[in-house]
Amino acid sequence: MTCWTRRQFGCLAGAMCIGALRPQAARGQAKARIIVIGGGVGGATAAKYLALGSEALDVTLVEPKAQYTTCFFSNLYLAGLRSLESLTHGYETLAQRYGVNVVHDTVTAIDPVAKNVSLEGGAKLSYDRIVLAPGIAFKAGAIEGYDDAATRIMPHAWTAGPQTRLLRQQLESMADGGVFVLVAPPDPFRCPPGPYERASLIAYYFKQYKPRAKILILDAKDTFFAQDVFEDGWNRHYPGMIEWLPGQFTGGIKAVDVKDRSVKTARDTFKADVANVIPAQEAGRLARLARLVDQSGWCPIDPMTFESKLQPAIHVIGDAAKAGNMAKSAFASNSQAKVCAFAILAALTGSERLAPHLFNTCFTLLASDDAVTSAISYRADPETIKVNDFFLSKVGDKAETRREAVREADGWYAAFTHDIFG
């Protein structure tokens, strides 16, 4: 035994003093096996809360990467306000404190009949339930010429890590007076304010180091989340630097050419010095592999439990889930993971079940001293998930309110990542 886990501590404590209170840990009784696939925000949260909730579950988390870099707050890295290391988290605490069996491997097949999962390394794991948190994939062929090789010239940086680092390097290398083109995706996509926060924070960087640079947003959409708040922020902080072209103006984004870093729309071709292409999205690869996706490209689920409507005993959480009106965000994934974990605990251990509480909260930076906030509570019923209550910062907020939100955002990041990985 090389590490000590909460699970083991719990069993010993039970043996010594409160054994009668822990019927699930009875000797010899087989534990229900839960395999959580995907170690992003949703998967890591689910693994932690499942392990915390009962000694009677054997929780395995399968994730290929040794560390996870959060996509949320990665725009602060692009702005030079945070290091990428400060956004990177390991799985050690999940294993050591909570007893999650962390397996760094890639899932190659999920067999819902035999109820097992095959791993690239050769192992085959049996399960009673799966929690799948596969994140997003980019729709193949959505933008002509934007393939894997193109992402190394014109990064998407929509999963954080090497892609984010590449985009930052390109921005640093760009000459003052250069043009940065950001291609924004159609709905639905991960993090609705994300592309516009990115434009804001890259403008923040340009304003200091390349004040003659321009930012051009080529959008697939005609409107975007909190548009008035963003446009007000751009006018106040970066007048004349950011131009946004809606889909109805461009006729849609058609193709990219990596040779001259250009983006072709229905009407024009725009040449970029640095291009960030965020394509249309769908549920991650593993969701398609396990046949959990409907014609929308996302995974239909029971909103009360997040169990797939297409495969029993497989729950889908996070960006890949078709969760009614819930935004695709890290906060929403964390919230869904808890509802899913408590539903599984209730089904497998008989623990009490409360009505699901689903939330989304978001801090979005327009500049280093100007953050806007949003908060949404949702109501889930057996059919869908609807917005119950909604708050969003407004144009004309006091400067101190926006400064205070930046401080809150920092505190929130620390608490939130502790909730997931700590």
Partner: protein, 126 residues
């Protein structure tokens, strides 16, 4: 390995494994020092309070080590209920907390108040 402790438990009465058990207990005490009391008390709990508190944990650390976000562990029942009531009515500003408070029933707020007060007392006692 998660299964190992069950094996130890099953053999605990046997003389030959008692040494192993003592060694493990000694290690558990050493490891216990590294675990925060708050995290431990949360561990065995999936009751109403813990389920609702999981929502709070997305912004407030349940070990009380918040920076930039007010800590809620250790508030008395009364303090917690009054604060949530004030957010709910709009008497106290804070749009995120107002949205949260308005989504909770008075009964759920009372459950949370008891839960956080009890956690606070437990932390102090140890």
């Amino acid at each position: 390995m998660p299964g190992e402790s069950t094996a130890v438990l099953a053999n605990a009465g046997h003389r030959q494994s008692a040494c192993g058990l003592q060694r493990i207990i000694a290690r558990s005490m050493a490891a216990g020092l590294a675990l925060s009391v708050a995290e431990l008390s949360f561990a065995a709990d999936n009751g109403q309070g813990a389920q609702l508190a999981a929502t709070c944990a997305a912004c407030h650390r349940l070990d009380g080590h918040d920076v930039g976000i007010p800590s809620i562990v250790g508030l008395s029942e009364e303090q917690f209920s009054i604060a949530m009531g004030a957010f709910k009515s709009g008497e106290r500003s804070g749009p995120i907390m107002r949205t949260m408070a308005r989504s909770l029933s008075n009964e759920e707020i009372a459950i949370l108040a008891r839960y956080f007060a009890a956690r606070g007392k437990e932390t102090q006692r140890r």
